[in-house]
């Protein structure tokens, strides 16, 4: 028996052993300690075809391609955030340059609750590691179609927000039903903005969904949709809090299940999100994911107390899971008609939202306007007020904006009444520039 990776796999491990939100917080120094012990003891980094890569820091431009940080990057990011996002980026570069075939960024802090506008931390997240990585790949390597499958137990509301209007990015989130868990969103009816209906798909699963339910959803719902969407890159937001031992959620998933999920999904890049059963789940889940990514037999990777019989889901749950799957498949199938309907005769569409930053105790209200457009993701303007905090106008010109949307967005930015806002900001993606107008 020879031990060799079937797929050359890069591993960026940045456990940030000297960073915590606060000493007793789930997101603390100790979180990946036992994972590192397990990875070291298993000798995974000695395996031919598995290579540990050094994390790097992201640049300000990398972050500003995705986020409007208020008042600026340095106020909402610590060094650890720069390195965590940089870990995902280092892996993406290695993959784009074909030094590795695929990879797993085991980094903290996590990022999938971070939205386009950032006033502070919510759901333990400040900036979105996956989005920063993806937009870097698009800017530097010309990748267009990307699918993100978020398998964290919490709805990936930050990633959803960032890609809400982008028809080139398929965002699928599997999570515990929002009626039973933070952040309370992620229902099938949330299916993307008027220019991108159906490229946001939410699959809320009932509490105590186990291997059967997750793997059914991946095989019967996610995989067929991915096959139709034909992404150039599949990113997995690899949260590990669906595990039966997780202290802050109510699911019944296992290390074997996670490894099998990766084997089915075959993501190009996985990025760690949540997962807080640091002793009983993470060491085994991470070992399983690494082996599954590399294409090595993971059948002996199980939690010491694992008993599949104890974590079998009820018939009720199976029924519920199937029903949600049917709903989502139907949304996907009817996405064009649904888009027509969502647009009506509007030239612009507005939505009003309140966003709560639980980690930092900030309340934000947003008024978002998007130009309905057949030719691009649409010019986007966001008026955002944070309490405590600032009032800003953020204007976004999408990557492949049409001339009309560029003009509209430019006009919004240039004619903004600066006395109404503390800051007026512009993401000009076609020129890859970030601009600020002072008061």
């Amino acid at each position: 028996m020879t031990l060799r990776a079937r797929h050359k796999t890069g591993l960026v491990f940045f456990p940030a052993f000297d960073w915590a939100i606060s000493p007793n917080h789930p997101e603390r120094e100790e979180r990946l300690l036992y994972t590192r012990d397990q990875v070291q003891e298993e000798g995974l980094l000695d395996i031919e075809g598995i290579e540990e890569l050094r994390a790097d820091m992201v640049t300000a431009a990398d972050v500003q391609r995705v986020h409007f940080c208020v008042p600026d990057l340095w106020h909402v990011m610590t060094e650890s955030h720069f390195i965590s996002a940089g870990g995902a980026k280092a892996l993406a570069m290695a993959m784009a340059e074909k030094r590795v075939e695929r990879g797993f960024a085991l980094v903290r802090p996590p990022g999938h609750h971070a939205m386009r506008v950032v006033h502070g931390a919510r759901g333990f997240c400040n900036v979105n590691n996956e989005a920063i990585m993806i937009e870097y790949l698009r800017a530097a390597y010309g990748i267009e179609r990307v699918a993100i499958v978020d398998t964290d137990c919490h709805h990936g509301d930050g990633t959803q927000d960032i890609y809400w209007h982008d028809p080139d990015t398929l965002f699928i989130s599997l999570h515990q039903d929002g009626r039973t868990l933070y952040p309370g969103s992620g229902f099938p009816q949330e299916m993307g903005g008027p220019n991108a209906v159906g490229t946001t798909l939410n699959i809320p699963l009932p509490p105590h969904t186990s291997e059967e339910g997750f793997l059914y959803t991946i095989e019967e719902v996610v995989q067929p949709i991915l096959a139709e969407f034909r992404p150039q890159l599949v990113v997995n937001s690899a949260g590990q809090d669906n595990h039966y031992a997780d202290p802050i959620t109510n699911m019944d998933f296992s290390a074997q299940g996670y490894a099998r999920l990766i084997e089915l999904l075959q993501p190009d890049i996985s990025v760690l999100e949540g997962g807080y059963s640091i002793e009983d789940a993470l060491p085994y889940v991470n070992a399983g994911i690494i082996l599954a990514m590399a294409g090595i037999d993971y059948s002996h990777v199980t939690e010491p107390d694992y008993d599949p019989a104890k974590h079998r889901q009820s018939a009720d749950i199976t029924g519920w899971v199937h029903k949600v799957g049917d709903t989502v498949r139907e949304i996907w199938a009817r996405r064009e008609a649904l888009q027509e309907k969502a647009r009506g005769n509007d030239r612009f569409q507005r939505r009003q939202r309140s966003i709560f930053y639980d980690t930092d105790g900030i309340s934000e209200t947003q008024q978002e306007t998007v130009r309905v457009c057949d030719d691009c993701a649409g010019a986007l303007r966001i008026e955002s007020t944070a309490r405590p905090g600032r009032r800003i106008l953020a204007v976004h010109i999408p990557r492949r904006a049409c001339a009309a949307c560029r003009r509209t967005a430019r006009q919004w930015y240039d004619t903004a009444e600066t006395d109404r806002f503390d800051m007026v900001l512009l993401q000009d993606r076609p020129t890859d520039r970030f601009e600020v107008r002072g008061p």
Partner: protein, 555 residues
């Protein structure tokens, strides 16, 4: 007086040192089929005219275990392995006599599944029937809790001549490497034991009852008794002797690159503040990745006797060595021949060297002298390129804390120290090509033997504390004690250093050479629910590799 002896591939070098420095140095040819004979011959020659009573220390650096492992002439050894969840232990099979048994210990050292005594018994019977005499016993996470390895060893009793337990060989995590290391120790044990007993006996017969120290892969030494318990630490002695030689040449407080230019290969290592960089996971020998403390070295197949070929219109050096240089009767042109042609080297048959280089020159379409220059440049630049690659690899090593990311050591050696036979000929060209000062160590042709003679006794200790479980353990040292929740990092450091000092003295260190240092330390608050339930502390300490004096005196 101290005797240092280094067995190399072609020569065995031996030196005699006293307070004033080098008294005598000589070489005998190495008989690879009978290293014992070469060692004795060298020792006899060097002690022919000295008073045996004046010799206080003998340090041997031999390729005995290295050769046996690389040539796969090691003894069969049995392995009993308990793994628990993770990779299938069959991936790490060491050979025919390999027995995985049920049993599991987790990352915090808690037993999750007891060892199955019946499976151990069955394995023991089979191994006994197969005539196995040495056995290795390895458990996953045995460095967190050696209970299973101890229980298996106890069950095997005295049915085997020697049992090696993984947790006693290294305090580091890495189950596959622990298996490989334990297996190699068991497998080289009979060879090592016989060799050193024979050396000791024949020295005693000659009235030389001196303590024998043995050079290890990390550039330090251990005494004979310690080596019986971990013979595998004697692997990779060649580069270790070079680095000790560089240290003996007083390398200064900055960073420097050590190059040992030999006949077949050039070995390179990095010194930082007068200490060599060690390989982060452990030494590698042949196909085996081990936990043996070893230097971070790189070896390329470019040396004075490497065969020179022409590839794609350019001279190519190595990787083969087909014999000595043509100037010394060899069959193929070599960089040494180029040096003879250029007049840098006076020895050797100049005519033969010219003939050899002329062949290459014809294929390069160059005059002979110019071809010789090209060959020499090519050899030097290949060495420099490999050194740059090694430094780059060191600098892109991953880090796991913000602190290390920002403050982590960046290596950029500003100087070179060169040794080995052709050192003085290569140094000026290496300096010219790299733009970095390049110094030749004193007596470069026997610098490794000098290094062996002066190497310090080294070792390391890893202490792991889990105050939630109330335990501080260093299984490597057979150490475990109860601690309270108040146990601090300072106490952990103190306990670790105390264990280290005891270990070093037992392994032959002189009290005045104990330069102890903390190489790694981590403290984590353990939080369960929303309150702190304990502290998890890991401390690794070592005797800094170094020398017990420099060549200029001070012995």
């Amino acid at each position: 007086m101290i005797i240092g002896l280094d067995v190399g591939g072609t020569h065995t070098d031996v030196v005699l040192l006293n307070q004033d420095g080098l008294v005598e140095a000589l070489k005998v040819p190495t008989d690879t089929d009978d290293l014992f004979h070469s060692v004795l011959q060298a020792l006899e020659k060097i002690t022919a005219h000295v008073d045996a009573a004046g010799v206080s220390r003998l340090v041997l650096s031999t390729t005995l275990t290295t050769n046996a492992i690389v040539q796969d002439t090691i003894a069969p050894a049995g392995m009993i392995v308990s793994s628990g969840p993770g990779l299938d232990p069959d991936f790490f099979r060491t050979g025919q006599h390999y027995y995985p048994v049920p049993g599991s210990i987790d990352h915090r050292g808690r037993e999750r599944k007891p060892v199955e005594a019946a499976a151990v018994e069955a394995a023991a019977r089979r191994m006994t029937a197969d005539g196995i005499r040495q056995v290795g016993v390895v458990g996953k996470f045995s460095v967190r809790n050696p209970g299973h390895e101890i229980a298996i060893r106890r069950q095997l009793g005295d049915r085997f001549e020697r049992i090696f337990a993984g947790h006693r060989l290294s305090g580091r995590l890495n189950f596959p490497r622990r298996i490989a290391t334990t297996f190699l120790n068991a497998a080289v044990y009979p060879l090592h034991r016989d060799f050193f007993q024979a050396v000791r006996k024949s020295l005693e017969k000659r009235g030389l009852a001196v303590p024998i120290d043995i050079l290890k892969a990390d550039g330090g030494t251990m005494n004979f008794n310690a080596s019986i318990d971990s013979p595998c630490e004697t692997i990779l002695s060649g580069p270790a002797a070079s680095v000790a030689g560089a240290l003996a040449a007083d390398p200064g407080p900055d960073q420097c690159l050590v190059l040992d230019v030999g006949g077949t290969t050039t070995d390179m290592a990095v010194l930082v503040e007068a200490a060599p960089l060690l390989s982060p996971a452990g030494g590698r020998i042949g196909p085996h990745k081990t936990l043996v403390r070893a230097l971070y070295t790189r070896s390329i197949a470019v040396g004075g006797d490497s065969e020179v070929r022409v590839a794609e219109g350019r001279p190519a050096i190595g990787p083969r060595r087909r014999g000595s240089a043509m100037a010394f009767g060899g069959p193929a042109p070599t960089p040494t021949d180029a040096l003879v042609v250029l007049g840098h080297m006076q020895a050797g048959d100049r005519q033969r060297a010219r003939e050899g280089i002329a062949e290459v020159a014809a294929r390069l379409n160059l005059p002979v002298d110019q071809a010789a220059e090209r060959i020499f440049d090519r050899a030097c630049s290949a060495i420099l390129a490999a050194a740059d690659e090694m430094v780059a690899a060191i600098n892109c090593r991953p880090v796991h804390t913000i602190h290390a990311f920002k403050e982590g050591l960046q290596v950029n050696p500003g100087r070179m120290l060169v040794m080995g036979g052709p050192a003085s000929l290569f140094a000026p060209r290496l300096q010219a090509l790299s733009g970095r000062p390049c110094r030749v160590v004193p007596r470069p042709e026997v610098a490794n033997a000098i290094g062996a003679a002066l190497a310090r006794t080294t070792c390391e200790v890893t202490l792991v504390v889990d105050t939630e479980q109330g335990l501080a353990t260093a299984p490597e040292e057979n150490f475990s004690r109860r601690v309270t929740g108040a146990y601090s990092l300072e106490e952990a450091r103190r306990d670790a250093l105390e264990l280290l000092e005891k270990k070093a003295l037992k392994r032959g260190a002189r009290p005045e050479d104990l330069e102890l240092e903390v190489v790694e330390e981590e403290v984590f608050n353990m939080v369960r629910g929303f309150s702190t339930t304990g502290r998890n502390i890991r401390v690794r300490v070592q005797v800094k590799p170094g020398v017990i004096g420099s060549l200029k005196g001070d012995l």
